[in-house]
């Protein structure tokens, strides 16, 4: 442990706090406790790790200033940056948030063309990129949103449970959760569509008390691949390594999240074009209704 005053904004007795996206309250939780130990050792600070079971409690605690380091999903880190002074510093290397549209293995739904007229969907939270991309996948398949009913489960992992227990016909499943699920769970589900955007990512975000040490933190995380203990831990966590977040990436995802959260999906073409457009031509701006 560090002795005396340290640059974390207090004394060596001060204990910082780490948490992660509720997605990780599952099977790789022990690795996150070890990760916390790794950071304490390499940064010379005291930090406790506590996970959350659902998004709402997690967001409330972080926005309430109870955490200093957070591994957060894209739309949450935009919010933490905007409202609580966090900065996204490091992201998993070559590892993006994608979405699988899953049904139960014994479902009659084998493709998007088989979706019933009314569709009950399990999704972790409407305020996640996973939910937004799930909607995009259905939009691209010309599934009218008016056909959809949602069951919000509060965490990514509980989407799998909701599907397996028959509480929903389709799930918006975070790729990382599906890929990390047990073979029994994966065999119980069928992926009928998936995104391949390679655009958004989770990130480690440092809060105001930890930001003075941002360079050290970035270095420690990005150098994990350079030593055996770090590599082992990365493998346990399911990552190949970490890389710094570029400012341009933060800008892109911030704009995207702000548009989504504010409900600005698209522009009414009538307001943006000099060409006369029939009022009935658009359901969601920019898209003609599919042929019926």
């Amino acid at each position: 442990m560090r002795e005396g005053n340290d640059p974390v904004g207090g004394t060596s007795a001060e204990i910082l706090a780490l948490t992660v996206d509720p997605n990780y309250s599952g099977k790789n939780l022990p690795a996150w406790f070890l990760f916390n130990t790794y950071l304490q050792k390499h940064l010379g600070l005291r930090m406790r790790f506590s996970p959350f079971e659902d998004f709402y409690a997690c967001r409330k605690a972080i926005l309430g200033g109870q955490y200093d380091l957070v591994y957060a999903n894209p739309f949450d880190w935009v919010q933490y940056r905007d409202k609580a002074g966090f900065e996204p510093l490091v992201k998993p290397r070559e590892h993006y948030d994608e979405v699988y549209l899953c049904v139960r293995e014994d479902s009659d739904i084998r493709s998007l063309a088989d979706l019933p007229e009314r569709l009950r969907i399990a999704s972790a939270s409407p305020e996640t990129l996973v939910h937004m991309v799930g909607l995009f996948l259905l939009d691209r398949a010309e599934v009218d949103r008016a056909r959809l009913d949602f069951h919000f489960t509060g965490s990514y992992r509980s989407v799998l449970q909701a599907l397996l227990q028959g509480q929903a016909q389709l799930g918006f499943v975070f790729n990382e959760v599906f890929d990390a699920a047990s073979s029994v769970v994966r065999k119980g589900l069928r992926v009928i569509a998936r995104s391949d955007d390679a655009f958004a990512f989770h990130a480690f975000c440092a809060g105001p008390r930890l930001l003075p040490r941002r360079e050290e933190l970035v270095h420690v995380l990005c150098a994990m691949t350079e030593e055996e203990g770090g590599r082992r831990l990365l493998a346990d966590l399911g990552f190949s390594g970490f890389a710094p977040v570029a400012e341009s990436e933060v800008e892109c995802l911030t704009v995207l999240a702000e548009e989504y959260i504010s409900g600005h999906e698209a522009i009414d073409i009538r307001a943006t074009s000099s060409v006369a457009v029939d009022d009935t031509a658009f359901v969601v701006a920019r898209e003609d209704p599919p042929d019926t």
């Binding site: 691209r140 655009f199 570029a246 704009v255 548009e259 999906e265 943006t272 031509a281």
Partner: protein
């Protein structure tokens, strides 16, 4: 003879390429938008634009004053990189090398076909001596 980059002739060829690309047509058959391209460091070169309705380009030519849903611009050097394939369309957008004004959500939703569009621009013979 290759069309001059960002000329009316060039953007019309871009429009034809858009209309004839099966993946773009498949993914964007309900897409309606106007968008403009220009060269950031060549203010002397007029802006060009495309207007797509139900996936088909119905106007390709000089920017004519109508409002645009999207505007994309960068330096001539970066345009060359995009057209040569050195820089993918998505990477250019993500790194802000290709500047973008418009709905990011719509761009994200149609990222795959739009990336194809940007990535095949270089297949059109072009003269950068402008």
């Amino acid at each position: 003879m290759a069309a001059k980059f960002m000329s009316t002739e060039w953007i019309r060829q871009v429009g034809k390429q858009w209309d004839n690309h099966p993946e773009i047509q498949k993914d964007l058959k309900h897409f309606n938008a106007t968008w403009e391209y220009y060269i950031e460091d060549r203010p002397d070169i007029p802006h060009v634009m495309l207007f797509c309705k139900a996936g088909k380009v119905i106007y390709a030519g000089p920017s004519d004053g109508r409002r645009r849903d999207f505007i994309m611009w960068t330096t001539l050097d970066n345009w060359k990189k995009i057209l040569s394939g050195e820089l993918s369309g998505k990477a250019a957008l993500m790194t802000r090398k290709l500047k973008f004004k418009g709905s990011m959500m719509t761009a994200m939703k149609y990222m795959t076909p739009f990336n194809i569009h940007l990535n095949i621009l270089g297949e059109i013979p072009v003269d950068f001596d402008i």
